[in-house]
Amino acid sequence: MQVVDPSSSEERSDTISEAPSIQRSEEAKKLQKREAWSRRIPLLPALIFLIAVTQIPFILSIFYSLTEWTVNPPRDRTFEGFENYTFAFGDRFFREAAWVTAKMTFWSVVLSVIFGLGMAMLLDRKFRGVGFVRTLVLTPFLVMPIVASLVWKTQMFDASFGMINWFTGLLGAEPYEFVSKRPLWSIIGVLVWQWTPFMMLILLAGLQSQSTSVLEAARVDGATKWGIFRQITLPHLRNYIELCGLLGAIYLIQVFDHIIGLSGGVSSARNLPFFVYRTSIGGGWRFGEASAYSIIVVVITIIFATFGLRVLSGLLEGEDAA
């Protein structure tokens, strides 16, 4: 995309300063308008780019969703109104995928925030090698998701070669096919492994931004550790925890790599994005139907996103006062 031409705004400010001061009120209005535009211009390239890349496909999807369009076997595209939508709502597999999405997102976000908080508190202490341990914990977040999934599948969960079964075997347990018996929880497990470090980073920053004098005062006043945690630390962390939840939900609602890497997309463990993919270019080739699904997914997401944005609103509130 084009980059803002910086000279244009400079030129403008020159003309403004040279303007005669007689027609003041009119000039002032013009000035205000120009000022408003000079503020907007830096925003435009990013905005236009994002609108083009995200909204055009969306509008095309709406159009596709109103058509009967199957590529394999090839057939002509015909307009058929809302038929795809009525079909979608009656589809049992679609509802199943919606329920899986809810469970997968909820549990992976909640568990990684809880583990992340625990880990952050352990790493907020002073001890020898704290930086080293933090590095160890951080690493799963940096690992490519598709690699993480394949490594967990073949080297951790696997019944014959997996390290978990080797370890439980030492304790006398029978080998267990984690991925085929519990596909959803295997996926959640790897997601939590990868996202706990991310939550830990945010929460650790939150913990370290606590004012030590307040904590000291509470301690002098005889507050217990639990009391300090509940009444000072947790309220302080509230914004950080909300941010964790928001960012986690944004990324985890559209998990794809872990599903295809671990379970290959069995119906008990595929989320809506994966389901849409399977209906369209991932093997179904029913483009009209798939587009209707994706529009429904987008609408559902927007409803949830509104809640998310309310959280965001709360995060921004403090700034207005300042």
Binding site: L50, P57, R125, V147, G206, G227, F274
Partner: protein, 285 residues
């Protein structure tokens, strides 16, 4: 709360403190173990990697030789690495070029409805990529962008732009308003306000943001798989080619995986302190 006194004194006790430290180390090792095991397996033979776990063995570079050798019908390692670096670095650079002025317009000299615009940016992040893949695929085909690096450069830019604007805006918020006001009164243009005053202050934040974009773009798999499987393959798709139905593949998959994650892991390790600060500052205020 009287019951919790024992728990409360836990940390102050020296022995207990050492125990807590040991526990933290243990958790760190558990967290790191799958990565360590992957790296370990990449230095084994296939026989050693498949079967009951071997902890001591004679390390071999055979698997690395195998995955980096040129075989007809498979993208070569050097090509894949070049593609990945090209796509990731270029998209991250474009993200920063677009996001810096945008974040400026949303914080330092905010436009009238900055909040709505910020919400729009974030809300595009909520749209599942998969839901838009079909039109993207079709447009890409029309424009002859499929199986080129450019399709991914464009998509990764769109993918990371909202996050970058969001983080950078918060960094810009930290810049004292008086400084900018003073420069404005002195007649500094918008551009020179940005380059001479704001950017130096937010430099650490820029680095953290760029790093996060780098991580997400390098690790992206879905779009790369859909738009770009043959000619301009990136590392994430390349890795999946080392699975096999017929023979043991754990050692060579591990070697390929190790190579694929290396750049991001090393960058993340080096920049972790900056990233913590960046996430926190970029996160709240």
């Amino acid at each position: 709360m009287s019951q919790s006194t024992d728990v409360a004194d836990f940390g102050s006790n020296r022995f207990a403190s050492a125990l807590l430290t040991a526990f933290t180390y243990l958790l760190g090792i558990i967290f790191f173990f799958p990565v360590a095991w992957m790296v370990l397996n990449s230095f084994k033979t296939e026989d050693e990697a498949s079967g009951s776990p071997v902890f001591f063995f004679e390390p071999t570079l055979d698997q690395f030789r195998l995955v980096t050798s040129d075989i007809a019908g498979r993208a070569s390692f050097s090509e894949v690495y070049t593609n990945s670096f090209f796509v990731v670095l270029l998209s991250t650079a474009i993200v920063m070029i677009l996001a810096i002025p945008a974040a400026f317009a949303l914080s330092v000299r905010p436009i009238a409805k900055w909040r709505d615009v910020l919400f729009f940016f974030i809300s595009t992040k909520f749209l599942p990529v998969v839901a838009g893949i079909l039109p993207v695929y079709i447009i890409g085909r029309e424009l002859d962008l499929l199986n080129t690096r450019w399709s991914l450069v464009i998509m990764y830019t769109a993918l990371n732009l909202p996050l970058a604007v969001w983080m950078l805006r918060s960094f810009f918020q930290e810049v004292p308003g008086e400084l900018i006001e003073a420069a404005r009164i002195d007649g500094a243009s918008l551009r020179s306000q940005l380059t001479s005053i704001v950017l130096p202050i937010v430099a650490p934040g820029l680095a953290a943001t760029a790093l996060l974009c780098f991580i997400f773009a390098w690790n992206e798999f879905f779009l790369s798989l859909q738009l770009n499987t043959s000619d301009a393959q990136t590392a994430s798709v390349w890795v999946t080619g080392f699975q096999s139905q017929r023979e043991n593949f754990i050692a060579r998959l591990s070697a390929a995986s190790t190579l694929a994650v290396l750049p991001v892991v090393i960058a993340g390790w080096i920049a972790q302190k900056r990233m913590i600060r960046g996430l926190a500052m970029g996160a709240i205020k």
